[in-house]
């Protein structure tokens, strides 16, 4: 079978419904045959980075492997940021990059780049297909590796001659990967020890991350919290893994988490981490992080255990399998003192904002009120708007929040929203953006329009690269080096219109609700340019390297 046709057969076998790809010289034979595969939808981004983030957004909301294709050389290097983003957030993706002919590799041929070399540290695994007969095994292995264990992106670098070769080997039913055995079943003794420790704890806290979303066990998190009567805080990646409307919810923890989540973690005697990796934005100063706690860590990746924080009871395995074994062993406990302490903190330090004028937090609150009874997916770019969205939108279900956590990629939101909309056509998909971030992949508005993917973007326009400006205000004597954008920003309403989409502008607080309503009611992609207070800060905030219970702006 011809190489390109074998690739298409492999995509079908893996139940791929859509690919996000950009053509180029080394991909002409593959695209020639993809044109006939009517059962695989093709979406053309306007930049390969956009295509990569679309595949990522698609994967985040659907739970399936996202597929991106880019040509050799610059096409492939344009994918790099998207691959690194998916890698940091453990998102399953298969990226196929074109490559020059096998006989030309290493000769600095036109549009040649060493993509397996470049992507080695930012992929779960990568392959260079050097023998056409290896292609079937590689295709099947790539999808298996991407979606199993701790998910992640896999790159297949595909020389053009492989796509036209006649391949005798058939696609195998299963890959042969003798060195790859992700552990799903936890050690039952470790689960018993964990249960014992939780039952003895007076002040436990569950700290829940994106692993719970990957493992699809948010229902078990709720069960565990209710059965054991344990408060729950989530990371940025874990938003939606536990309903924020639940009385046991502490909302998000960490640098811009709630003061009460951080106080609870600092005072807990038993910290139960589930699918989370003790990132520096969570722990702050390591030596003062959860100083009195015994730490239990449920994770599928053994390298996450005791990497940053010493763990007392590691439970390596799939969160779903581990929690199913753990929950029956948990005993109900009133923990009256602990909860009354938490309630006191909640009352004393609520998430709040002050001041008149058009505050960005207000926009998010009103957006939540207008969308909470609809099927809604919130995507974000990266910066202040992302933190306000995390703080002031109320997340109650998994896979409704799409944000670049680990890498913090500006320009992620719009293309990710397009991918999310493709996965969930019946959902209202809203990208919350800043005026800086939205300009990084603004060209993808064309992709949204061309593919009838009616994503809405709320630009919280403060005329600054706001998060950096906030740090400059607080820690660098208010020297706003290269962060003011107001004078040079484009007119976002006209930009949207030039793309053939709708632009709406809101400049006053009293017009926010009407503006949001109009945006939601409008067909097709929309930019809602909301001109917010320029120097609002994200609070509370743990200064970098400080202990997490010492927050600025605890109201």
């Amino acid at each position: 079978m011809k190489g390109s046709k074998l690739i298409i057969e492999a995509l079908r076998k893996e139940k791929v419904k859509v690919v996000f790809g950009y053509p180029g010289g080394s991909l002409i034979p593959l695209f020639h045959d993809l044109q006939d595969a009517k059962d695989i939808k093709f979406i053309l981004p306007r930049h390969e980075q956009g295509g990569g983030h679309m595949a990522d957004g698609y994967a985040r909301v659907s739970g399936e492997v996202g597929v991106a294709i880019a040509t050799s050389g610059p096409g492939a290097t344009n994918l790099i940021t998207a691959i690194a983003t998916a890698h940091m957030d453990s998102i399953p993706m298969v990226c196929i990059t074109g490559q020059v002919k096998t006989t030309l590799i290493g000769n600095d041929a036109l549009q040649e780049a060493d993509i397996t070399g470049i992507t080695r540290p930012i992929t779960k695994h990568n392959f260079l297909v050097s023998d056409p007969e290896d292609l079937p095994e590689i295709m099947v292995s790539a999808f298996h590796i991407a979606r199993s264990g701790r998910p992640g992106p896999v790159v297949i670098d595909l020389p053009v001659d492989i796509t036209i070769a006649d391949i005798k080997t058939k696609l195998p039913a299963k890959p042969t990967l003798p060195g790859y055995h992700p552990r799903y079943d936890p050690n039952p003794k470790q689960v018993e020890r964990a249960a014992e420790m939780i039952n003895k704890a007076k002040q436990p806290v569950m700290y829940v991350g994106g692993g719970v979303i990957s493992s699809e066990c948010s229902d078990l998190i709720k069960k565990m919290s209710e059965k054991g009567n344990i408060p729950v805080t989530t990371t940025l990646m874990g938003l939606g893994a536990f309903p924020e409307t639940h009385k046991n919810s502490l909302l998000m923890l960490g640098m811009h988490g709630t003061a009460y989540a951080n106080l609870a973690v600092t005072n807990t005697d038993c910290l139960i981490a589930i699918g989370a990796r003790f990132d520096d934005r969570i722990t702050g100063k390591i030596s003062e992080f959860a100083p009195n706690a015994k730490v239990i860590h449920f994770d599928i990746d053994p390298t996450s255990v005791s990497k940053n924080i010493r763990v007392d009871i590691p439970v390596v395995g799939d969160a779903t399998k581990s929690l199913k074994k753990l929950i029956p062993l948990l005993k109900k406990s009133a923990r009256k003192e602990w909860f009354s302490q938490i309630d006191e903190w909640k009352e004393k330090y609520p998430l709040a904002y002050k001041g008149s004028g058009l505050r960005p937090q207000y926009v998010i609150e009103e957006l939540y009120k207008l969308t909470k009874n609809k099927k809604t997916i919130i995507c974000t770019e990266v910066g202040q708007h992302q933190m306000w969205a995390a703080q002031f939108y109320t997340f109650t279900k998994p896979r409704k929040w799409v944000s670049s956590g680990g890498l913090g990629t500006m320009g992620f939101g719009l293309p990710a929203a397009i991918g999310a909309q493709e996965a969930k056509p019946d959902h209202l998909v809203i990208n919350i953006a800043g005026d800086g971030s939205i300009q990084m992949n603004i060209q993808e508005l064309t992709t949204a329009l061309a593919n009838k993917l009616p994503v809405k973007t709320v630009i919280l326009n403060n005329g600054y690269l706001g998060m950096v400006r906030q740090w400059q205000e607080l820690f660098f004597d208010k020297r706003y080096a290269q962060t003011p954008l107001k004078e040079t920003n484009p007119d976002f309403v006209k930009v949207a219109e030039a793309f053939g989409c709708t632009g709406i502008r809101v400049t006053k607080k009293e017009d926010v609700v009407a503006g949001l309503k109009k945006m939601i009611a409008t067909e097709g992609p929309v930019f809602l340019d909301v001109q917010v207070e320029p120097e609002e800060n994200v609070f509370p905030m743990v200064p970098a390297g400080e202990a997490i219970d010492r927050m600025m702006g605890m109201t």
Binding site: K124, L128, S130, G179, D301, T303, K307
Partner: protein, 157 residues
Amino acid sequence: MRHIISALVENKPGALARIVGLFSARGFNIESLAVGETENSEVSRLTIIVGGDEAILEQVRKQLGKVIDVLKVQDISDDSFVERDLMLLKVSAKAGKRPEIIEIANVFRAKVVDLGEKTIMFELTGPEEKINAFINLMRPYGIKELARTGRIAVLRS
């Protein structure tokens, strides 16, 4: 503390680059690394000497285990094992000095593999201390060139 990590790796393109890249990206310090085929031509054995405390070593073991081409990782430092290092050493040896140099070499059971007008080349294998001791004794005569394979190790039965 120094540890000896022995890993079996699939002989695939990029496998070694993956491992070396992992060490540099995570800031692990390699003292010595030796690679060669095993009895199975599809599998190589890597012997890595790495320094660091227990927490770092735990990460080294786990991160190596996570590499998809790696089949098996063992920290054999606390077990009974045989280790060897192979060295080729070329030393300056004028006519008058030759007998004493060869006498030292005999004590170490170093083999003469090349004899020139002004130099002798020795081949020496053994554990690290033996190799280092020989190097120190040859230093006063003037070492011209030296190459070592790095340590390899296999567990005793």
